[in-house]
Assembly symmetry: C2
Homo-oligomer: 299 residues x 2
């Protein structure tokens, strides 16, 4: 199925605009001391990221009839957590990457110490952005912080996944281990983006579960297509170092299954994700479009 | 004035016992994957830290008549944030320290990547421990996360202070800059420990302000005595590398004022702190004992 490219791309562009404007308000300006720290934070935060996770918060929230002003803080918070993880993952002791989103990584430009602190500050500001969101009830804010902390922490979240990824580097791992790593490292934050929209939208239990399953499949789809893009696209198109996974002999779908079979898997996961949407008693075309978009994305 | 050493040391020992037991429950055990990450977290968290900040939460909370079970999660959370900051501050790109609390620093034992992730996970778990504390109202939890995020973040909190400290290294700085660095880096977390106890204890505005001023002076006192201990005590007594500040030519009170004048300053700050307690309409002897304890501490 061909994605509704035009509408969805407009939607994503609009989300990026809204979330960028909110992030600009939440983060200290670059003329406030300590200047190096705030410049470093802004360097990584405003580097032309796709804002996929915020768009996903908005998409699910919109399906549940929530207005954007109730979604914007948590969307910005999730993007801050994503950005902090990229800054730390790029460090020399981690993935040691020089290029991210088409520009120098944070530590290349500002030094390792400032990059570590920039990441620390972004995690901090993310949780603050949620608890300070007076548009949501205290109970909703509590639930959001808790579920997002789970998704970005350990033992099941993003930080655990990054640790597992480091441990697995250069080792033979099973496909179950590979999927477990992706689920924790990438999938959990994509899942919680969708869940946040559903929580703010007062989704019932069945709908919350359907959104969770949909998002988990989408997270897997995102990872498979990410791995595929790494081997099929150039560094220039990606804005990060292409072929990086191969040179570091990291476990990827194409490395384990080959390119053709990985593409086949991507289609099956996409189908499975879309089947979950039937359990949601709302117009879900927007979410189907998101799934299509990820399947067919070129960067 | 001679401190009520025996009673207060019993109180601090009891607080340490209670907070250690809670931390043990909050942090994944070392046999849960990813094992290296959880071992690293526990290595730094259970390294015989003084648990001064948790004791301060308990002391203020007790003055306001709060039972320990309502204070324990936030006390543990503040200790987790303190520990994450130590792990990151010790990294080679930051203070590059090999020894902390008498044992190898986290990155010396587990590698830099795992140490960075251990710090990230601890910050995450800290906020989660507060929002998951069902013994407190949602509003109280929200207020605690917000004020603790302020105190540990940027531009006025701990992360900002660490950045300013790094920038100041090897430079001539004024005493105003020195105090600003300490206020952000160390003072803010000590202040928020006291404020947290006061918030949970439903302190009125005047009392909250008095506790804030008391704690700010105590934070300053803590830093002056810390700087003094660095030049007057051996590495063995301190459990961290003594003379470190001098060898790194960092700005310290003894470096700027000399030892005798720094000791004189410590006594004046102590006096000022204790004067604030008169504004609190509760028995505050416990807080006076804490102030005495910091003035006279030997490690």
């Amino acid at each position: 199925m061909v994605p509704e490219t035009e509408n969805l791309q407009q939607f994503i562009a609009k989300c990026a605009e809204v979330v960028d404007s909110k992030l600009d308000k939440l983060v200290p300006t670059a003329d406030i001391e300590p200047i190096a720290l705030h410049r470093a934070i802004r360097h990584s935060l405003f580097a032309g990221g796709k804002r996929f996770r915020p768009a996903f918060v908005f998409a699910v929230g919109n399906v549940f009839g929530v207005s954007n002003d109730k979604l914007i803080n948590v969307a910005a918070a999730i993007e801050m957590i994503h950005t902090y993880s990229l800054i730390h993952d790029d460090l020399p002791s981690m993935d040691d990457d020089d290029l991210r989103r088409g520009r120098e990584t944070c530590h290349k430009k500002f030094g390792e110490a400032t990059a570590i602190l920039a990441g620390d500050a972004l995690q901090n500001m993310a949780f603050q952005a949620i608890v300070d969101d007076v548009g949501l009830s205290a109970e909703t804010r509590i639930r959001l912080v808790s579920i997002i902390a789970d998704a970005s922490g350990t033992p099941f979240g993003m930080v655990a996944g990054q640790q597992e990824d480091l441990t697995a580097e250069g080792q033979e791992i099973t496909i179950e281990q590979l999927e477990q790593i992706h689920r924790a490292k990438t999938g959990s934050m994509i899942r919680v983006s969708a869940q946040s929209g559903a929580i703010i939208g007062d989704a019932g239990d069945v709908e919350f579960e359907a959104i969770t399953d949909f998002a988990e499949n989408l997270g897997l789809l995102f990872q498979i297509t990410d791995d595929l893009l790494d081997v099929t696209q150039s560094t220039k198109t990606l804005g990060k170092t292409a072929g990086k996974d191969i040179s570091a002999s990291k476990a990827t779908y194409p490395a384990v299954y080959g390119i053709a079979e990985s593409q086949n898997m991507a289609e099956k996961v996409h189908e499975k994700a879309c089947r979950e949407l039937a359990r949601i008693n709302k117009p879900t075309q927007l979410l189907r479009d998101v799934a299509d978009f990820i399947l067919h994305r070129e960067k």
